[in-house]
C-alpha cells in the first residue's frame, strides 16, 4: 500500500525523488550548470489538476510526460538545439498517494530520456490542489525563432495536423457529441496518443536549421501551437505588426478528419497540439516542407496589422480561443 505524502517525512520524500535525478543532484540549495558558449533559453509552464489534466483522462505517467513535453515544446519553438534539464515544483494535498507522485516523475523521466536533459532540482509543498510548475532550460542554436520576426510575404507553415489533441480529450471524456460520429479507428487512436503523449518538435527545428537556403538571412518567425493554431498565428501577427491570410482548403487536419464547423473550430483553436507554427520566406518553407512529411502550408503573412482573414472570401477568421482564468 502506497503511503500518502503526509505520511512521508520531508527527508524520505526527498530520498524517493532523488532516484529521478543524477547522483547528489538534489543535495544542494541550487543546481549548477557548467558555462556554455550558447545562449540559454528558459521557459516556465504550470499544469493544474482540473484545468490542464484530470484523473478521469490522464494517468500519472502521462501527466509527467505532458508537463515536460509542453515545456520543451516552447524551447523547440524558440530554436533550442539541446536541453539542460528542468526544475519541478510539485504541490499536492497531504492525502495524495506516493504512487501518483512516483508515476508523475516516471513520466517526467521518460520525456527527459527521450529529449535530453535531467531533473535539476525543485521544490515540494502541500496545497489544496495538485499542480506541477516546470521550468525548462536549453541551449539556443544558430537561429532564435521570435514571434515578432514574421514579415509580409512570408509563408505560414506548420509541422503537423491540428485539433487531434482536442479530439483526443473529447474521446477520453466520452464526449456525447462524438457518439453518433463514425471516426476512422486510426484517427481515434492517433488523437488519444496526441493528447496524452505530445511531441516537442526538436527534429523539425533541426531540419529547419539544416535546410536554410544560403542566400537567406537567419530570420524566421516562430511559435508553438500550445494555445491553438489560430492563437499561434495571432501571436505571430500581433508581435510582428502583420496580418495573415489563411487558406480554408489548406487547414492542417489529420487524414480522415471530419468536415463541419465544429471540426474546423477544433483545428483552429483546440489547443495543445504543440506543433511548430513558422513564418518563413517561401524558398525556405518549400525546402523545409519537403523534409517534414506532415507539414502543411496554411497561408501567408501580409501587412494588414493584427487581422487574420480567409483567403477565399476575405472574411475575418473567428474561433473560440482559450482563456486561462474564466470558468469553463
Amino acid at each position: 500500500m502506497s503511503p500518502t505524502l503526509a505520511e512521508l517525512t520531508e527527508a524520505e520524500l526527498l530520498r524517493r525523488l532523488a532516484r529521478f535525478a543524477p547522483p547528489n543532484q538534489l543535495s544542494d540549495d541550487t543546481a549548477a550548470l557548467a558555462a556554455d558558449a550558447r545562449p540559454l533559453l528558459i521557459n516556465t509552464d504550470v499544469l493544474v489538476d482540473g484545468v490542464h489534466f484530470s484523473d478521469a483522462t490522464t494517468s500519472a505517467l502521462d501527466v509527467g510526460w505532458r508537463a515536460v513535453a509542453a515545456n520543451l515544446s516552447d524551447l523547440a519553438a524558440s530554436g533550442a538545439v539541446a536541453i539542460d534539464g528542468i526544475t519541478v515544483a510539485l504541490v499536492a494535498p497531504g492525502c495524495t498517494s506516493w504512487d501518483w507522485v512516483d508515476g508523475v516523475y516516471q513520466g517526467i523521466s521518460a520525456a527527459l530520456d527521450q529529449y535530453g536533459g535531467v531533473l535539476l532540482g525543485g521544490d515540494c509543498s502541500k496545497g489544496e490542489q495538485r499542480l506541477l510548475s516546470i521550468t525548462a532550460l536549453g541551449r539556443l542554436g544558430p537561429l532564435r525563432l521570435h514571434r515578432n520576426a514574421a514579415r509580409p510575404g512570408d509563408v505560414l507553415v506548420t509541422s503537423g495536423p491540428h485539433g487531434l489533441s482536442r479530439l483526443g480529450l473529447a474521446l477520453l471524456q466520452d464526449d456525447p457529441s462524438l457518439r453518433d460520429i463514425a471516426l476512422d479507428p486510426s484517427l481515434h487512436n492517433k488523437a488519444i496518443a496526441r493528447h496524452l503523449h505530445p511531441t516537442p518538435r526538436f527534429d523539425e527545428v533541426q531540419q529547419l536549421l539544416a535546410c536554410k537556403p544560403d542566400h537567406l538571412p537567419w530570420r524566421a518567425g516562430g511559435t508553438d501551437s500550445s494555445d491553438g493554431l489560430l492563437s499561434a498565428v495571432a501571436g505571430l501577427c500581433s508581435s510582428s505588426g502583420c496580418g495573415a491570410l489563411l487558406q480554408r482548403d489548406q487547414l492542417p487536419v489529420a487524414e480522415g478528419w471530419p468536415e463541419g464547423p465544429a471540426w474546423t473550430d477544433w483545428c483552429l483553436s483546440g489547443g495543445e497540439d504543440f506543433e511548430l507554427v513558422l513564418s518563413l520566406p517561401e524558398a525556405w518553407a518549400d525546402i523545409w516542407q519537403k523534409c517534414i512529411p506532415e507539414s502543411q502550408r496554411i497561408g501567408r503573412i501580409n501587412a494588414e496589422a493584427g487581422v487574420i482573414r480567409w483567403a477565399h472570401n476575405h472574411e475575418r477568421v473567428e474561433a473560440g480561443g482559450f482563456d486561462h482564468f474564466s470558468q469553463p
Copy 2:
C-alpha cells in the same frame, strides 16, 4: 474598482504583467540569456497561500518580496555573485482581484531592483488556491558553497540571529502565548520586519569570497537557514557525513531575545530567517566574523556522522522541525 482575473482576457493580463519586465521580454515562448563564462545557478521555490503566506499576516507586496528573497537566498547560499532574473508561475482563482496580483508583482520588482535581475518570463493559470512558483537564475563566483563540503574541525558560523522570523509571524498572528511577555519594542519591530522582508545574504557572501586566507583552498560548506537553523546544520552534517557540537551559550539570538525552551526552539527551528550557515576552517571563519557584525560562531563540525550534540553535556539537540506535507 479592480477587475478580477476572470474579467481580464489573457492578452490583457499579459499586457498588465509586461509592465514588470523589460520591454518585449514576455513576447516570446521563452526567455533568453546571453552566454556567460560563469556557471549558472538555478533554484525553484513554491509559496502557497495558507502554507507560506496568508492575507492575515502578509500584504501582496510582502508576498512578492518574500517569494523572491527566499529564492535568491538559496542562490546566495550556493555562492552566487550576480542574478540574471526569475520566472514566475502564478496560480490563482478567477475571483482574485488584479490589485492583489499587481501588489505581488510590485513586491517582486522591488526585490529584483534591490538585488539585481529581471522578470524573465512565466506562466499564469487559474487554480483553487493562490500560489507562486519562482525559479531564480544567477551566476556562480569563485566558490560553490556545497552542503556536502563541511569537514571535521570546521567552525560553524551563521550570518545573523535566528528565530526572528518565527517571532514576527507569531506577533502578526497575535499569538496568545506572547500576550503576557514584555518584548523589547525594537525586537518586536525587527522580528516583524524580518518575517515580512527577509534579506538574501549576497553582501555576506561577497565578504566571504573577499576574505579567504591565501593558504586555504576554495572549500566551504554552506546552506541557508530557510527551514531553520538546526535543519541547516543537519543538512550540512548529513550531506558531508559529519556531525556537529553546538554551543548552548552561543546560540545566535537577537538582542533582548527572551530565555526559555520555547525561545530556544524558535531559534533552532523557527525557520525562514534566510541567514547563511557556513562550515569554515577556523582562520577563515575568524576573519569573516570580523567583517559581519551580526555573525555568530555556533559550534564545530566533528566526525560523528549525522549526530548533532550540545557541547556542554553531549546530549542530542532536538527540535520540532518543519514538515511540508503533514497537517499543522
